[in-house]
Symmetry: C4
Subunit: 241 residues, 4 copies
């Protein structure tokens, strides 16, 4: 129970950090798989990330059914989260956002690729999911498990996908890592656009991406987490909840 | 009377939000139709949006005549508001601004089009009004009902127009929706410029714009409004005034 | 004496505003002609604009000699100010800055021109002064009356000039107007670059620039001034000191 | 001892300034050579620059061995610092960062050159170090003296180098000067990219770079330092520690 409380605290912190670092604005969300039951996940009710309090965190079954809603309205797009937890036992945390620099890539088909070491976590291939391909004219929202599963299928074993005319989704093994990748996906996209305008870009080699990935762990991520907690006005614990 | 007080409070909040979110700087304004008399509208006296207090809100007849000025000087460009309320019974709130990213579109004739779901509210067509076409060399300000009506005519049944060498105007059915469209008109313009530099852009289809529009309501807008109130240091009420 | 105190207070406010609005960083300065003696001007000692206090304001003769230094070190580049007051009896205030968006124009010879009504105050022609033309390899600083006069000559009867590899200078009839033009010179440059990247730009016509100029007065400038005072944490007086 | 305490205080201030001015985010570091023993240098333990306190400052031998770790974990990349102090007796302070605007230059081979007087300190030539040239696929980090020496060799007698897919390193004769160059390396890169997009750029001549360099001293740097201390919430001393 104490463990669950700490995890909820960490999830609220993640929401505030994503807002403070400009990855989400009034929309976007982050979830974590339930520590006691892998068939559930924790996600806020429908609220802007920077406004979220502990009591806003709800539990959902993988199909998106709330466990104990108590009048709280869920996010329409929670199916992004459930579908990824269903397809990927290795995934513990999911971020969905409308991070600005990634959107131009998603609507032009230009591929985002790791341009500096901190961007290596996005993976060697960042696919683009276009809801129009299988679902035609929609409100561009992932509003069913069917759509969520289609997105999860495209992500496959990867960490990230862009969503055409919408944003991006990140899946990772911990809250901190999912937030870390989300922040640096945005930075990588911003730097990559600038570099592409200046000439031929030397991206990270496949071997470099692998080497960085094998080295990215709590040592580096906690350094960022402490800094982001400070900026977001949240208390920091070195050990992940 | 209580209802009017709440609406004035909401209008002051809208001014502060537009300033905080970078849609207006020292100039620009937002109005609302009077709830008890559709032939009047409420608008601040001539002051920067971030400085406005409740006592600055004045009532105007549609032709721009103040109801009870009490020494307060009106905005010169209030005719933008009156002309839209006159032409459009469905319009309840109007925003006029010099939002930075839209200005380059207005002076080059490049069309702004919805590039992501949050930009759908700007509509399928965002026309550009050039005061020079009918009024020749002016100070570029809408300083008469004749000019206001010319602008309103171009907007027609739409929600937005750019103004060449000047800014933009947004007309909508509520204060919150007018602010929401104004914020995302700016974001959409910023993202669209970036995307155009990267290649052929896949904009939202007409069907997608319709689908998003049919889904955009208090559920989403209030989520942003709560966040913007927090950022602007204003109290939030879930129900629109 | 009271009048002088108010003017010094206004000059400190101008420094803080220029810093807050991003026109100056740790460098750059603003001066005002002495109200009792047109052969003197007031300017801070050598300090970053955002740090300046009333006691830092010194009086200088037009040739740059301090009236009563009391151990305070002057800015090396004060000759920019003196040379403009010497050449232009109509000038009451001068701003020198390294405002970021103007620098790329100054090193490429692209001309800045008014692109929206708030940019009209920069004038129809913004010349570029290159210290190398008459002075060869220097530290790019205006460190003598000879250099100051060369710059003032290029400005002629105008309000602005860019300085190659250095920044910009603005001369106007009041502190508030000089600050206003400095702020919007930066915004105009930023918007113009974006617009040039998008296609053929329709700048303000000469007639429009004249019309805007004839309309720009305390009514508009004070609205900005109140807002900037609020943002800079300075008290606001509607009447210029 | 008092002198060492003051230097540690100055080093913490430098960390906070680099964070506040956007030169470092959660990563990057700044060191200073030990005032009593040139075979040692002072550098924080592994922490984000904006979080660093006096007790985080550790002493290291030039080969990177901590003198008295007391459980504090060092930065992996401390070899950048040691290798420069080893190769360059004239160097007293080193900054390593991932400053955003320099990265696109490092991955495209476009050369950064001084574009305005405040950028002259970066030097006439800013070489790009590509770890891949001599070390193949790595995590792009400088994780040994061998790699540090390879970087130091490329820097030679210069002040700066970019690191492909990683960031930049600055070496200078004092903490304040190293920070000053780091800040303006970022600004110069940002302005240079904009200028290159606008046309042929007139960079500073070699003679101008020399003239500026000969004039850049405590007079100018302290002006910036006071401003940066104020912005970072640190107390300012005019004399360098």
């Amino acid at each position: 129970m104490v463990r669950l409380d700490r995890l909820i605290e960490e999830l609220v912190t993640a929401n505030r950090i994503l807002a403070r670092e400009g990855v989400v604005d009034s929309f976007g969300h982050v979830s974590v798989r339930h520590p006691d039951n892998p068939q559930l996940y924790l996600l806020s009710c429908s609220r802007a990330p920077d406004c979220i309090e502990n009591d806003d965190i709800m539990a959902f079954a993988l199909d998106g059914a709330p466990v104990d809603a108590r009048g709280r309205a869920p996010y329409l797009e929670r199916f992004i989260h459930g579908a990824l937890y269903e397809a990927r036992p290795d995934v513990t945390s999911v971020v969905h956002n409308h991070s600005e620099s990634v959107i131009p890539f998603g609507v032009t088909g230009r591929k985002i690729k790791p341009i500096f070491h901190l961007g290596a976590g996005i993976g060697k291939d960042v696919p683009v999911w276009d809801s129009h391909d299988h679902f035609g004219d929609t409100a561009l929202l992932v509003e069913s498990m069917e759509m969520g599963r289609d997105l999860a299928k495209l992500i496959g074993a990867g960490a990230t996908a862009l969503m055409r005319g919408h944003g991006a989704t990140v899946a990772s093994k911990s809250i901190r890592q999912a937030v870390f990748i989300s922040v640096y996906l945005e930075v990588n996209a911003r730097l990559q656009k600038q570099a592409m305008e200046m000439g031929e870009v030397k991206f990270l080699t496949a071997g470099e991406v692998d080497k960085v990935a094998s080295r990215t762990g709590p040592y580096g991520i906690n350094r960022a987490w402490e800094n982001w907690c400070r900026r977001a006005g949240r208390s920091f614990e070195a050990d992940e909840a």
